[in-house]
Symmetry: C2
Subunit: 245 residues, 2 copies
Amino acid sequence: MKIDPSSPADLSAQIAAAIRDAIVEGRLIVDERLPSEAELADQFSVSRPTVREALKRLAAQSLIRTQRGATGGAFVNRLSFEAAQAQQITTSTLLLSMNDVSFETACEARFTLERACAALSAARCTADHLAAMRAEVHRQSQPGLTDEAFCASDVAFHRALVDGACNPVLSYQLAGAVEAMQPLMNMITFTARDRARIVALHGAIADAVAARNAAAVTAGLTALEEETQTLAHRVFAARRDRDPA
Amino acid sequence: MKIDPSSPADLSAQIAAAIRDAIVEGRLIVDERLPSEAELADQFSVSRPTVREALKRLAAQSLIRTQRGATGGAFVNRLSFEAAQAQQITTSTLLLSMNDVSFETACEARFTLERACAALSAARCTADHLAAMRAEVHRQSQPGLTDEAFCASDVAFHRALVDGACNPVLSYQLAGAVEAMQPLMNMITFTARDRARIVALHGAIADAVAARNAAAVTAGLTALEEETQTLAHRVFAARRDRDPA
DNA sequence: TGCCAAATGAATGTCAGACATTTAAATGTA
DNA sequence: TACATTTAAATGTCTGACATTCATTTGGCA
């Protein structure tokens, strides 16, 4: 592992990249301990703070963890599905909020991906997954539920549907698509709330899953997408009327 | 923005979290300049190295960028689709390599997601997308292509297919699924290379896209998935025979 | 002998101060 | 006015020190 001191890039960035490559290429394996900060500083011929900045960069990506104390140090982290999902959700949320992606595009992407799970979920989902979906549908039908709680339940419903495919890689990939939409959906439900219709569609989807009817699940999701798009159009149209600037 | 000095967590992690929250919640907007490192150190009552570690954590996630010089400082970054995709690919690759996900599961997830794009891509893809797909098919049919180059072309073909859906959010989401599979696919093509069959399937998919025939695109992808799974099974069976340990 | 408590040492976490480098803006001069 | 120089502000880096954590070792005591 070598770095180029004459490069215009930060030394800490170069060191982080060198270690990251070593991890990605398997030269450093899970739970392996890296040399101590002082040793790394020697190896790269830099000072300890520079090494520390590099290690913090890697820690921010969950590539390593650090322990204090006698047997402490930096260890290669086993990237868990949870950590990966959390990162993905943050990234997706920021991506949507910073790039003025149209609601239409984001909504289309989300439901396109979710429909991809429909067949697998209908075929494989367990009683637990189905119970989770039913529970969320029931919660959503309670009066007096705040908008935030309704949206959270909405997300939980879809997560259960996706997890029903029993493919953790698929669940991970879809986490960003489903969760990052929550802020955008909030934006709508505040004004154009039509909960009964959404709850009915959720119920229909749950029924279709219970019946192992993939086509009906897909149809339910498509109906939900259309409903969402319609609501969004109505909201945006109302905004244009009220605030033509 | 406040931190708790008595918390067991690192100060730099707390500071990074505080700033990250401010960005996610919109209190800091794109291209806004953060206070200088010295000012942040004052605000949080910590030293400058600690602030720097926090900023490096955020830089590692592409949340901020830093500039040197008179008008320099840390600026909130507009998270680009490219940066988000690069992160997602790294994360997905590590997730697969560190969690002994079965080839079957990963392959299923990949093709399930890709099939989700089939209809959109068949309906919308431009001449450019189609030309890119054709070019990759042609490249793959060249003799003397290294395994690495063949796999890279394979990935490029699928990227073109996904991009054909003309939905950047969808492209972003699928980047990890498609690109992270490349190492796993390498593992196979080294031993059980059957390029002609794969090239033929790619050609059929390109033809189906050109004909705007969504069902045929889906069928082509399914055939490709079956081919890949069969190859994988053959390789794993051969390994078991040769190396029963 | 066996067990518990205190000292040890190695590692990370934090701080203070200094210097180097980069960059844009202000300043001065032809 | 145009160009060269100076200046100042900011990040990048280094040195050295101290604080804190924690497994290990050591010591004492029953």
